[in-house]
Amino acid sequence: MNRSIRLRIALAVFTAVVSLVALQIVYVLERFRHSFIEEVDDRLEESLGDLRVVMGTNHLEDWIAQVAGEHRREDEFFIEIRDRQNQLVARSPNVPDSGFPGARGVAQSAPIYWDFAHPRSPNGPLEVRGLETWVGDYHVCIGMSLKEVQRWYSGLRRNLVTSLIAIAVVGGLSAYWVAARSLRPVAQIAAQARTLGGSADGTLLPRTGSGDEIDRLAAVLNDLLSRIRAEVMRVRRITADAAHALRTPLTAIRGHLELEAARSESGASEHVDVAIEQVDDLVRFVNRLLLLEKLESGPGESLVRERIGLLAQTQTLVEHVRVIAEERGVSLECSGESVAVDADVTQIRQAILNLLDNALRHTPAGGKVSVEVRERGGAAELSVADGGLGLPSDQLERVFERFYSTRAGTGAGTGLGLPIARAIARSHGGDVTATSPGGGRFVLRLPLSGEAAAGAGV
């Protein structure tokens, strides 16, 4: 997205610069042409003044020859004089026999200026500025070629257009550069925002400190982020407090129900038994919620770490739950290589059991659950692939949200198993991620033994 903004800014600057400079060029060229033609007109007037003097004298032919010759090199000079009977009195040799081109034969003596193209120029039509008037009884047409104007004009135009292109290119590029530069914090913010975790870490978006719009945006977003975090923490605290508060009454309810169950004769206590089972479900739920709170509220300082073999632990647990897989008609395989990790064995077992539980729940009878342990990319990796329907890509992250459960399965969990597994992995400096190559595949990653300390603070 920032790429297109960069490009759009550059294009806008480019267009603005080009239009402004082009307008300026047109204006300058017009002014140039206008003033030069004024100059030409002045010289034509001047020549007309001279002509008035020599008119009627026998110096006329000489004068014509002189001015025509004088101007030959730069500005070609044309003259034609006719009397009232339209008889030719005199003309310069460069005027064609057909007469002065474009002459209108004005009735009054006031001068009329016009532009015409001279047909007899060797280099194609020649632009000429002409003047037509009456001097006494004679109809006079004089003209000057605009060769010099044209030369200057085209030279100037070439220069101006060249600089226009240069300005446009430089302007566009620098606009692109400036835009890219000022949008770089946006890219950084986006990158940082993508990595921002859910909650506990107080990471904020990077500030440039320049106080510009983007920096202010980052400040506003940080403020928003802090408030959202505070709100999330508040909600979590409420949940934790509620879970805490539930424990004593739950203990009491359970105790009284048990006494009731023990007192009544066997068979008569059906309802009490059901009630006890319900309380147990509630207790399990509350305990999981509290465990999750504890794991997520801070990095695992209370972890009792020891060096454990991940494969051996996994194999033990797989054997423990094999009976459940058999009951459900699911085949359970475990393979891999020995990998040592530094971990709290109780917690890691819990995480592995949660992953196994999840896999068994989502695998139909006749399906297969494959567990594999190996070292990969400098970390210990335990993957649990189930034979279920798999997950659409938009749910791969959502399954780690609390109480998120959309997968059809055999019996609903509490919706806390996967979040707990992930929280445990994260408190050990690792993670649990989901992919869906056919069925669901959950991968638990942990730092290798000896490396845990480096990654634990994350």
Binding site: H244, R247, T248, P249, L250, T251, A252, R254, G255, H256, L257, E258, L259, A261, A262, R263, S266, S269, E270, V272, D273, V274, A275, I276, E277, V279, D280, V283, R284, V286, N287, R288, L290, L291, E293, K294, S302, H320, V321, V323, I324, E327, T346, R349, Q350, L353, N354, L356, D357, G413, G417
Partner: protein, 223 residues
Amino acid sequence: MRVLVVEDELRVRSFVERGLREAGFSVDAAADGEDGLRLGLVNPYDAIVLDLMLPKRDGLSVLRELRSGGRATPVLVLSARDEVDDRVRGLDAGADDYLPKPFAFAELLARVRALLRRGTARPSLLEVGDLRVDLLARKAERAGVRLDLTQKEFALLEYLARHAGEVVTRTMISEHVWDMNFDSFSNVIDVYIRYLRRKIDEPFEKKLIHTRRGVGYMLSPAP
């Protein structure tokens, strides 16, 4: 057997008191730390059930005072589950066992009984009705018929036999037989109980393994 219960929560204290009484214990109860300490120092109890969060004087302090007062009475500490530190501090201060809240009363009862049994000789042969469990040879037979058990089945049977006549919860079984807490897989135990029943009870008319729904299991010649 005389047991002292120190717990400020009336709702919890009342059923613990009643339950222990119904299990045949003579029970004294205290609602705060001061009261608990006074009773504990004065009377010769066989066991003390002590909550950690108490008014006036907290449980750990009560425990230290009891121990420094020369009382070696076995103490079972009650505390909220997530306070792992409590467990460590409690055991450091001289507690003999720890039970996290919320707990099942059956479990409290079993743990209190275990505390009282402490120090008594453990027999190597357990007999429940016509069932004989030889812990040294790791063999079991019923009515003279040898039972073919897997290792896990035997371990489960051993645990049930050690607590014959008492209800044991799934939590207790998983902690002692599997050495872990199953949480989401507590039905593993149900499956093994079923396997065990198939071998121990199915061929015989008299059933030994009894289900206490919502609580746990009991091995007993009487229903």
